[in-house]
């Protein structure tokens, strides 16, 4: 799952998936702004066929939190 998340992050943030570290979050990835955050969310929802509620979305600002949230769905 982690690799798939990285692939999607790579597409949204226009970076290489291989360069994404497990510890990366919105403070370490320059293109991760609030607009791209929405793009990331809709891309993840489509890929994993899930839906995040608005309260969750604001928390999903790191690879780790995204992975944990997806696992709990």
């Amino acid at each position: 799952m982690k690799e798939k998340i990285k692939e999607i992050m790579a597409a949204v943030f226009e970076i290489n998936a291989a360069d994404i570290k497990d510890s990366d979050d919105s403070t370490t990835i320059p293109n991760w702004d609030s607009l791209n955050q929405m793009n990331l969310i809709v891309a993840l929802e489509e890929e994993f066929d899930v839906r995040f509620e608005d309260d969750e979305i604001v928390e999903l600002t790191s690879l780790e939190s995204i992975e944990n949230s997806l696992k709990s769905k």
């Binding site: 597409a11 607009l35 929405m38 809709v42 489509e46 890929e47 608005d54």
Partner: protein
């Protein structure tokens, strides 16, 4: 979405990285957040070779952005009624009359500013205001609907030629309101539309943009049996085929024939490519009471026992259009696959098994022929293409080509800086691909500027012969700098090729410039995928090559050195009207 969003982002990036053609800038102005649209709008255009680069303006800043971004190639506007005033979908219904009219007046003046600022932008696509997202839930109409209607009427009254008003209700109808909107982040961050909505929006506006790149289809070619009528003429006979609205199976074909007739009236070439006895088909078209398409609508007939691939190639050749301008409709798997196999450029439509789906499938493809400009020459073009086919046949009965050309009584009328022709001149720059030396696309406003200013002279010509009129079929825009002139644009519709009209026109153009004190003319050829046939045009016309950069060749002509081409079978008249 048809492909996943993340996949689209990846593919789009690859296409953009590999696309070296000139950037086509699209700016999206909006009063809601639509930033996911940028790449979704780029992708189908990138797939068609247009190097579209889209970006969003500032949030809720449509008027100011319209000044800042009016140099973009295309502007898309998402002006949402619910946000013209914060919470307008509910506040609008309790306004006093004076509050209501104040908001309407404010919005109208914003529309005015925006449209004025974008007056010179080549394409502006504005969504009609819509109440559907909120008001589809109940029967009654309210203030919100009334205001919406008034603003839409206003938009229509202010619409200029470069503006396309787009009906987003069609998207809601296609994929439902609930698939189109997501309120999850509307109240917090003003995002409203879903990826699915953007995908449909993008697919619907793509033909508008590609039409200015000369990518619209020009010809619609029908097989006859089970395509224009139900049944097989050779077996069922003239009385056994059905295409009447009164017959159970014929009604689908009547509907398709009517839609084809409408396309013919817009200047689309309708043709036949059918395995049948030509006399039988001719008789049906001429005499069958249920035929809605008439002889006058059908430009070219390849009714014979040859294979359909060669017929299509001949159609392209005789009409002087590219194979990629042709749409071919047939009912047979075999024929459709044969064409797909050998002529990938031809767009094919197969008549569906369930005949009641045929008219709907036809409608779905109508935008292939989309053109942003509609001129009165369009309708005349059908007649002109027909005359061309008669001419091709006449060619065979003359000994030499010159003898034939002399017999045509060719006449050329040259119009200089003619205001009534601006729209047609702009359309020619957008549609002409093959005989086009520089392939520069111009909008109405740009051509209007050329006509007005003294720095440019615009020449447009009309050609007539004894078989009929071609209308305005060629033009040239020349910039003037002292005693030197530069040919910016020189193009001709391929319908009039093969008559040396291009050489006569160039000769006249040189004579005219000479009479205005010009001594030196510069010109160039810019290579595209489609204009190889004019690669050596200026050499043939006696210009000297001064620079060859592969994709670009520069030429010069000292007028006093020009050799006359001695074409005496084309008479020339001048018209100048301002």
């Amino acid at each position: 979405m048809e492909i996943k969003y993340s996949e689209l982002l990846k593919l789009n990036k690859e296409l953009k990285d590999g696309n070296s053609s000139e950037e086509y800038n699209i700016k999206i102005l909006s009063n809601i957040i639509v930033n996911q649209l940028t790449q979704i709008v780029e992708y189908p255009l990138q797939k068609r070779g247009v190097n579209a680069i889209a970006s969003c303006g500032n949030f809720d800043n449509i008027v100011q952005d319209s000044i800042q971004f009016n140099k973009s190639n295309c502007v898309l506007i998402f002006w949402e009624l619910c946000n013209i005033v914060d919470g307008f979908q509910y506040k609008s219904n309790v306004l006093t009359e004076s509050e209501k009219s104040a908001i309407i007046e404010k919005t109208k003046s914003e529309i005015d500013y925006t449209l004025t600022n974008l007056n010179s932008t080549s394409i502006v696509i504005i969504n009609y205001f819509s109440t559907t997202v909120f008001n589809h839930q109940f029967i009654g109409r309210n203030n919100y609907d009334e205001i919406c209607r008034e603003l839409n009427n206003y938009l229509e009254s202010k619409k200029t030629r470069n503006v396309v008003l787009f009906d987003i209700d069609k998207i809601f109808a296609k994929i439902s309101v609930s698939s189109s909107v997501d309120f999850r982040n509307y109240y917090s961050s003003k995002t409203l539309y879903t990826l699915d909505f953007f995908e449909v929006y993008s697919s619907m506006i793509t033909p508008i943009i590609t039409s200015v790149f000369g990518k619209s289809k020009k010809a619609l070619i029908f097989d006859c049996d089970n395509t224009l009528w139900k049944g097989i003429l050779g077996e069922d006979g003239e009385s056994g085929i059905e295409m009447s609205g009164k017959s159970a199976k014929g009604v689908f074909f009547e509907e398709v024939q009517f839609m084809a007739k409408e396309l013919a009236s817009r200047g689309i070439i309708i043709g036949l490519n059918s395995k049948n006895n030509p006399e039988d088909v001719k008789k049906v078209i001429k005499d069958h009471e249920s035929m809605s398409l008439k002889e006058s609508d059908i430009v070219i007939e390849k009714v014979n026992w040859n294979d359909k691939v060669s017929n299509l190639q001949n159609i392209a050749k005789e009409l002087n259009i590219g194979l990629d301008s042709i749409v071919f409709i047939d009912d047979s798997d075999f024929e459709i696959n044969l064409v797909k196999e050998y002529l990938q450029e031809v767009y094919t439509i197969q008549v569906p098994q369930n005949l009641y789906e045929y008219p709907s499938l036809f409608r779905k493809n109508i935008d292939l022929f989309y053109s942003i400009l509609n001129t009165k020459d369009d309708a005349a073009r059908v007649k002109s293409y027909k005359d061309q086919v008669v001419r091709e046949q006449a060619k065979n009965s003359y000994g030499s080509i010159n003898e034939y050309l002399e017999s045509l009584d060719l006449e050329m009328i040259i119009y200089i800086d003619h205001k009534d022709l601006i729209e047609r001149m702009a359309q020619l720059t957008q549609k002409t691909n093959q005989f086009n030396l520089t392939t520069k696309r111009y909008t109405f406003t740009q051509v209007e500027e050329f006509v007005k200013t003294n720095q440019y002279i615009t020449f447009a010509f009309e050609v007539n012969d004894k078989f009929g009129k071609f209308g305005i079929t060629g033009e040239s825009f020349v910039s003037i700098n002292g005693h030197e002139a530069t040919i910016d644009t020189f193009l001709m519709s391929c319908r009039v090729l093969g008559r040396n009209i291009e050489l006569k026109f160039l000769e006249e153009l040189v004579l005219y410039l000479e009479s205005k004190g010009i001594t030196q003319i510069k010109s160039s050829y810019i290579k595209t995928q489609k204009n190889q046939q004019v690669e050596d045009f200026y050499e043939r016309a006696g210009f000297t090559l001064t620079g060859d950069f592969g994709e670009l060749k520069n030429y010069e002509l000292n007028i006093k050195d020009q050799k006359k081409v001695a074409i005496n079978y084309i008479s020339v008249k001048y018209e100048r009207k301002n």
